[in-house]
Amino acid sequence: MGALTEAFRLIITLDPDLFEILWLSIRVSLIALIISAVISLPLGTWLAITRFPGRKFCILLLNALMGIPPVVVGLLVYLLLSRSGPLGWLGLLYTPSAMIIAQVVLITPIIAALSNQVIENLHQEYSDTFYSLGVTGRRAVVAYLVDARYALTTCILAGFGRAIAEVGAVIIVGGNIDHLTRVMTTAIALETSKGNLTLALSLGTILLALSLLVNSLVIGVREYAAKRQYA
C-alpha cells in the first residue's frame, strides 16, 4: 500500500517537520495523561470505596462524561482561554498548554470511570479486611491503587489512546498552527482536507506505530514487574 511506503520514507529520511510534529503530539498527550492520571485515579478509587449520598450520581456523571464530544470540550476551553474569557490574561490560547488543558478535561472522566470499575471489583474483596484493619481515607486509596496497578494500566492506556488520537478539541484550542501547535492528528486532518489521502494515511500509520510503541513499553514494564513479583 502506498501509505505504508510513504510512511516508511518519511521516517527513514528523518523528515524534521515530521519529527517536530510527532514530538509535540507525544509531549502534549503524555503531559495531559500524567496530569489526568494524578486527578482521576484517586478520584475513581475514592468514589469506589466511600459511601455518601450522591456518590452514585457522581459515578453516573463520570460515565456519561466519557461521551462528551471533543468539540464541546474544545469550545469550553476556548471560551475559557479566549482573550475575552475569564483566563484570557494567561495568553494560553493557541499554545500547547491549551491543548494539554483540553485533553485533560477530555480524558479525566474516562480514566476515572474505568478505574472506578476496576477498584470496585477489588473493593468487594478487600473491604471487610480494610474495615477490620481500620484502613480508610488516603491510605486505603493508595493501597487500592498499588494493588490494582496491573489492571489500572489498561485504563491509563485507554486514556492515552483517546488523548493521542484526539483532534476535535486540540484543533479548536490549538489552532493547528504550523511549528507551534500542529500535532499528528491535526496534520492528518489538514492533509485530508487538502485531498492528500496517502500522506494523511501514512501519518496515521506513523501515529499508530507510536501508539504501539508506547503501549509496548507500558505493557512490557507491567509484565516484567508482574514476573518479578510472582517469580
Partner: protein
C-alpha cells in the same frame, strides 16, 4: 495502638450485650433474634452447625454488618465506637498483593516505622519468618491463615474475633495458634472464637455459645457443656448427628 487496656486487666469492651439481633437476607431470616450477654473475660467459643449464623454474628459484633433490628453494646460503647479496639481473623483470609512482611507493615504502619523488629517477631510467632519476603498470596492455605492471625494480633486488641482460624492448619500449627490465643487472652484480651473442632473447644473454651438456626440455643461454661449439654440440638451436634 490501643492504650486503653493494660496487661492482665479485663478487657475494656466487657460486658458484651447483644439483644434481639435480627438480620434478614432476601427472604430468609438468617439471624432470628440473638440474645447474648458475655461478661467474663477469657475465651468464648461459638459452636453450631454450618449456616447457623456464627459468622454473621461475629460480623455484626465487628461492625461489618448492620443488623436489621436489635442492639449490641461492648463495655460502654456501641459497635461503631469499639472498632479500633477489635481485631478479626476471617474464615477466608484476604491478604494484599504484596509480601508477607509488607502485609504486616501495611496493617500497622506506626509499628513498621518505630519498631520494625516487632513485625519480624510477629512472623516468628506464627513460624513464618522464612516466608517474610514471599508474595503473601502464594503462601499455602495454612500459612495464609497464620499470617492473617499475626496481622490481627499486631494491634493488641481488647477484643479478638476468630472465625475458624485453625481450620486448615496442621496439628503443630494448631497448637502454636492456640497457645498464642491463650497468651493473648491471659493478657486481658477477650477472645471470641468460632470453631467446629471439639478438641480445640475443650482445650480453649472458658464458656461455649451454641448457635442453631440463627439463634443462641445454649450458653454454658465449657466443662458443663461437653459433659451435659442442656439442649437436644447441642447434644445431637456433639454426637455428629444430622441437624439440617
Amino acid at each position: 495502638m490501643n492504650t486503653l487496656r493494660s496487661a492482665n486487666m479485663p478487657s475494656s469492651l466487657l460486658p458484651i450485650r447483644i439483644s434481639d439481633l435480627r438480620l434478614i437476607k432476601g427472604d430468609r431470616t438468617v439471624l432470628a433474634g440473638v440474645n447474648l450477654m458475655i461478661d467474663k473475660p477469657g475465651i468464648t467459643v461459638i459452636m453450631g452447625p454450618n449456616g447457623a449464623g456464627k459468622t454473621l454474628l461475629l460480623r455484626c459484633l465487628h461492625g461489618l454488618i448492620k443488623p436489621d433490628q436489635g442492639q449490641i453494646t461492648l463495655g460502654q460503647l456501641r459497635v461503631a465506637g469499639s472498632r479500633d479496639q477489635q481485631a478479626m481473623v476471617f474464615q477466608q483470609p484476604v491478604l494484599l498483593r504484596r509480601t508477607a512482611l509488607q502485609n504486616l507493615a501495611f496493617a500497622a504502619p506506626e509499628i513498621a516505622k518505630s519498631e520494625p523488629q516487632r513485625l519480624i517477631q510477629a512472623l516468628e510467632s506464627v513460624h513464618l519468618a522464612d516466608r517474610a519476603h514471599q508474595p503473601a498470596r502464594m503462601l499455602s492455605g495454612g500459612e495464609q491463615q497464620r499470617l492473617s492471625l499475626a496481622r490481627a494480633l499486631l494491634s493488641e486488641p481488647a477484643l479478638l474475633l476468630l472465625d475458624e482460624a485453625t481450620a486448615s492448619l496442621d496439628p503443630a500449627s494448631v497448637l502454636v495458634i492456640e497457645s498464642l490465643v491463650k497468651a493473648q487472652s491471659a493478657q486481658g484480651t477477650k477472645v471470641i472464637l468460632v470453631s467446629h473442632d471439639q478438641g480445640q473447644a475443650r482445650r480453649l473454651a472458658d464458656d461455649i455459645v451454641f448457635m442453631s438456626d440463627g439463634r443462641v440455643a445454649e450458653q454454658s461454661p465449657a466443662d458443663q457443656f461437653f459433659i451435659a449439654p442442656q439442649t437436644p440440638v447441642a447434644k445431637a451436634y456433639l454426637a455428629g448427628e444430622i441437624l439440617f
